[in-house]
């Protein structure tokens, strides 16, 4: 069972702030992590490999420092790591990203499954999985929280719905996007982390030429959507503070509610 796992390195978003003066993201000093959902995808793939045999390949697209995410994936148990990195890939929307990943996957020899996290915490789009699946003409199941069984022809999974779940059989090759509920990801093994840095498990870095794409097809140039502006969310209302002690302020409030026919 050969499995490709799509991994993204993301900033730890609880810390992301906007510069109030410029309206730009403050990126300095923010830690980079493997996207949380992707860790569950890695765990599922490694787990399946341990049962059924085969090989797990971690694939990422990002700046050179995203190699840390691949090392960590290898530390968890991935057998091979590939980082797609090129200045030309920068500024890609999901259209250009799914194309770039799709082209790279076509270069990787035989695979049965592709696992990805449901969505990345920096963009929250949840689009890359389905778009890659479409590019590669594969069946797809999203929001997977349980893998029941796998055979040569099909994979049986449970998929979360807003108000329940469904059992789905998907024909191989298939792409799954997984959610947190699926498993508890393991930590990286130190020995394997060291291997990732040595020649034992070399991480391949591929650029635009390596995957055979024109710079006009990828990155910002190859994108179909563009960010026009970013801004801090505006939430201000004309608030009124109700004065007085508890009784008084509550009385004023009830008065306001009545005035506005809310009670």
């Amino acid at each position: 069972m050969n499995i490709i796992v799509l991994v993204k390195q993301v900033p730890d978003t609880t810390e992301v702030k906007l510069d109030p003066k410029t309206g730009n993201l403050i990126r300095e000093g923010i830690e980079s992590i493997i996207n949380p959902d992707d860790r569950h995808a890695l765990e599922a793939a490694i787990n399946l490999k341990e049962v059924a045999g085969g090989k797990v390949t971690a694939l990422s697209m990002g700046p050179p420092q995203a190699i840390d995410a691949i090392s960590e994936a290898i530390g968890m148990g991935a057998d091979r790591g590939i980082l797609l990195s090129d200045r030309a890939f920068a500024g890609a929307d999901t259209w250009a990203t799914s194309f770039t990943l799709g082209k790279a996957i076509e270069k990787i020899e035989k695979y049965d499954l592709i696992f990805c996290g449901r969505q990345a915490i920096d963009g929250d789009t949840a689009q890359i999985g389905p778009q890659v699946a479409d590019y590669l003409h594969m069946s797809q199941v999203s929001y997977v929280y349980e893998i029941e069984k796998v055979n040569r022809k099909s994979i049986f999974v449970k998929r979360r719905l807003e108000d329940g779940f469904e059992k789905v059989r998907a024909t191989m090759p298939a792409l799954l996007t997984v959610i947190e509920e699926l498993n508890i990801p393991r930590y990286s093994h130190v020995g394997r982390l060291i291997d990732a840095c040595k020649e034992k498990t070399p991480i391949e870095v591929w650029n635009a030429a390596d995957i055979g794409v024109q710079t006009s097809e990828v990155g910002l140039e190859g994108s179909l959507t563009h960010v026009i502006k970013t801004f801090a969310p505006k939430f201000q209302r004309e608030g009124e503070m109700l004065e007085g002690d508890t009784k008084e302020s509550v009385r004023t409030l009830v008065g306001k509610l009545k005035e506005n026919r809310l009670v």
Partner: protein
């Protein structure tokens, strides 16, 4: 392909810094300086009044899309019941279509679902594209994507909206890739640019800390998924529309997936999305005991209780009662925030409320900036007092 600064011309006005969506320009010794993460998008070039920013990037030609007409909405249904978000999308679609002088159409897929067309007209659809087939009974990605591909190719819509539900977020990207268009996820605001006539799609990013407005200039339809609970459904009384039946042929082999079983988990009577009043608790509630007084207040109002992420993580409320970026988006008539500081992630889920009341010990809590009425005080006193007052006023 680069962007560079003619330093002599730069007067350090910082317009380019504001204009850059990537935070890739900074001021160094009073002059603008392009950083390594520049994507050569050219936003700064247009912003510079000194013409100090140069680029060798050729402006990209925008194709002619004058034949693209109509605002389409995916009418999501399961087992013959329409998802509420479809009504909301039709509400927004009416406004967008009016701005463009175009029609609203709903796309209804399924098996034996033609009766739903009536409802779609009631919510503002001028047309319903109806595709019925046994293979469309359960939602399946490839089957639905194939039908959309056929419809879009044949009828050439200008805009296509889907709910950012589990189904919409599964189908949207698949359709976008297939018909060769961009897609903006999970939008909370949609408007038509008055000059260019394009759809401006605004969405939260980075966990709600940043809002981004996105345009889709180079492909049609302009596709977006829209967060449930954000747009307002608008009934259009007596509206009549046309059903356009669309024939499909599908085989099990090409679809690739099969839904073997479906389970509905019993809802424990929680329906935040339809609650008129929501009483919400945050860290300041302090104890599980404290939550009880919120339930009493909610009962007095005939409303529901919700909470922030912390309350859910503490195990004081089930996850289906969580409001915020990672929980639900709600828009009740009255939202009473008790002991909630008002972190941006929480505000993202409740700002659509008609009236917001904040009760908090800390007068400096950001929640007061978004409240219509605020009471600084101990919620253990204020909440019971308010409960009493509301119960009394109802008895009268």
């Amino acid at each position: 392909m680069t962007v560079w600064i003619e330093t002599e011309l730069c007067n350090g006005c910082k317009r380019c810094i504001k204009a850059c969506p990537y935070g890739a320009v900074e001021l160094k010794d009073g002059k603008a300086h392009i950083l390594e993460n520049c994507t050569s998008c050219g936003a700064c070039v247009e912003a510079c009044k000194q013409k100090a920013i140069q680029t060798d990037v050729e402006p990209r030609a925008i194709p002619d899309f004058s034949d693209r007409k109509g605002v389409w909405v995916f009418a999501e249904q399961r087992n013959g019941t329409l998802n509420r978000v479809s009504h909301e999308l039709l509400g927004k679609a009416q406004a967008l279509a009016a701005d463009l002088g175009q029609e609203v159409s709903a796309v209804l897929l399924g098996y034996q679902v033609s009766g739903l067309a009536r409802t779609l007209f009631d919510y503002g659809a001028d047309n319903v594209y109806l595709a019925q087939h046994r293979a469309l009974k359960d939602y399946r990605t490839i089957a639905y994507a194939k039908v959309f591909e056929g419809l879009v190719t044949e009828f050439k819509p200008n805009i296509l909206l889907m709910g950012a539900t589990h189904t919409g977020r599964d189908l949207g990207p698949r359709v976008s890739r297939r018909v060769g268009v961009g897609l903006t996820a999970d939008c909370t605001e949609l408007t038509i640019d008055p000059e260019e006539g394009i759809l401006l799609q605004t969405r939260p990013a980075f966990g709600g800390n940043v809002m981004a407005t996105i345009a889709n200039r180079y492909s049609r339809p302009q596709m977006a998924t829209v967060r449930p609970g954000v747009m307002e459904a608008l009934k259009k009384k007596g509206n009549k529309g046309t059903v356009i039946k669309y024939k499909v042929s599908l085989t099990e082999k090409e679809i690739g997936t099969k839904v073997l079983e479906q389970f509905k988990e019993k809802k424990k009577g929680v329906s935040l999305s339809s609650a008129k009043v929501i009483v919400a608790g945050g860290r300041g509630v302090g104890t599980e005991e404290g939550m009880k007084s919120l339930f009493s207040l909610a009962k007095a109002f005939g409303g529901e209780v919700a909470g922030t992420r912390i309350i859910v993580e503490e195990g004081w409320l089930p996850v289906e009662r969580q409001v915020g970026q990672t929980g639900q988006t709600v828009r009740p008539e009255i939202y009473i925030a008790c002991g909630i500081s008002g972190a941006i992630q929480h505000r993202a889920g409740m700002m659509g409320s008609r009236y917001i009341i904040a009760i908090n010990k800390d007068a400096g809590a950001p929640i007061f900036q978004v409240a219509d009425w605020g009471i600084v005080g101990d919620l253990n006193q204020v909440v019971p007092e308010l409960t009493k007052a509301i119960s009394e006023s109802k008895r009268k």
